[in-house]
């Protein structure tokens, strides 16, 4: 199907700034879904609040645009109610790991089947460039005019520690890898996390003097490397890209079904008096 059949054309041009990486994530997600041959009715996208979360308005799937930080909680309810849906949850770095940090680690721990996409621009884009838990030490933000003293999370390490059974990272520069990883994440039967480094030229870029959107993407090219590469051994500061974890674990909805079966069995043999 052509790209235009997956989007709500009436809302375009979209509201994202020129060069915003979130548009590239949208682009790649559409390609991934097209390659998987999924029908639009099989997909539900659940998002919170943020520039990133606006993505749910642009795709022609079932969509829920919910509240800041709580997309995974809504998605959990939806998935338990309709487990046959492919649930995709795109989130901003603030949405997922500041206000939504607790929902994030517990969804990962439960291993509920859904695809969490963290569109990491290292800033609160929507509200004007405040620092997020992913901005990192020494970065500039409207709320850190003399530079940030907070250290950042490593999304991959955090996700693995929390129990996510599929964990990957790539960038908006590496579009072929992005499309491939999104496909794998959607197919994975468990909680998948895909961190996408996504440029915000308007706030993170401007505050940190990183140049144009294309300059920021060139930075992703230069500062990242495939997992376990020789370059990484020589320069440990490089950020690794690829699939870090992919493992099988009991999935939450399937386990829940077993509990229902068990409970039904018991109520037949021992009726409640």
């Amino acid at each position: 199907m052509p790209v235009k059949d997956y989007i709500r054309e009436r809302f375009f041009p979209h509201l994202w700034c020129p060069g915003c990486g979130h548009g590239i994530v949208l682009n790649a997600l559409i390609r991934a879904i097209e390659k998987l041959g999924l029908s639009k009715n099989e997909i539900a996208m659940v998002s919170g609040i943020g520039c990133s979360s606006r993505i749910s308005g642009y795709v022609d799937f079932h969509t829920l645009h919910t509240i800041h930080g709580r997309a995974l909680a809504f998605a959990t309810g939806l998935k338990l109610g309709l487990p046959s849906l492919n649930v995709i949850v795109p989130m901003g770095d603030g949405d997922a790991l500041a206000i939504g940090g607790n929902h994030f680690i517990h969804a990962a721990r439960r291993n509920i089947e859904m695809t969490a996409i963290i569109m990491n621009n290292r800033i609160y884009g929507m509200t004007g460039g405040q620092y997020s838990p992913l901005s990192g030490y020494g970065t500039m933000a409207t709320t850190a005019p003399f530079s940030n003293i907070d250290h950042d999370f490593d999304v991959v390490d955090l996700s693995i520690a929390a129990g996510a059974t599929f964990v990957a990272r790539t960038t908006t520069f590496h579009v072929h890898q992005l499309i491939d990883i999104l496909q794998q994440a959607i197919l994975h039967e468990g909680f998948s996390v895909v961190e996408v480094l996504s440029q915000c030229p308007t706030y993170f870029g401007r505050k940190n003097k990183m140049g144009s959107a294309a300059d920021m993407m060139t930075h992703y090219k230069d500062q990242t490397t495939p997992i376990g590469s020789k370059a990484k051994k020589e320069n440990p500061a490089l950020i690794e890209r690829g699939v870090f974890v992919q493992k099988e674990m009991p999935e939450y909805c399937k386990e829940y079904d077993k509990i229902i079966e068990r409970a039904m069995g018991r109520s037949e043999s021992t009726p409640i008096s």
Binding site: P13, G23, L26, V175, H176
Partner: protein, 67 residues
Amino acid sequence: MAKPKLKEHVINLDWCKGCGICIAFCPKSVLELDEKEKVVVARAKDCICCQLCELRCPDLAIKVEME
């Protein structure tokens, strides 16, 4: 496999925001911005149909059609 041959670049001028991403990363320097800050095809004959411009466009504004 035969080399893909370009038919045309389909550009949606209402959606293109002139961010320059497609231009910066085109391996053959096929694209440019015009005076209205919209993308234009300056050297169509050099295009190798890699589709990187299409895949990296944040605005879904450029499509590479092949024969």
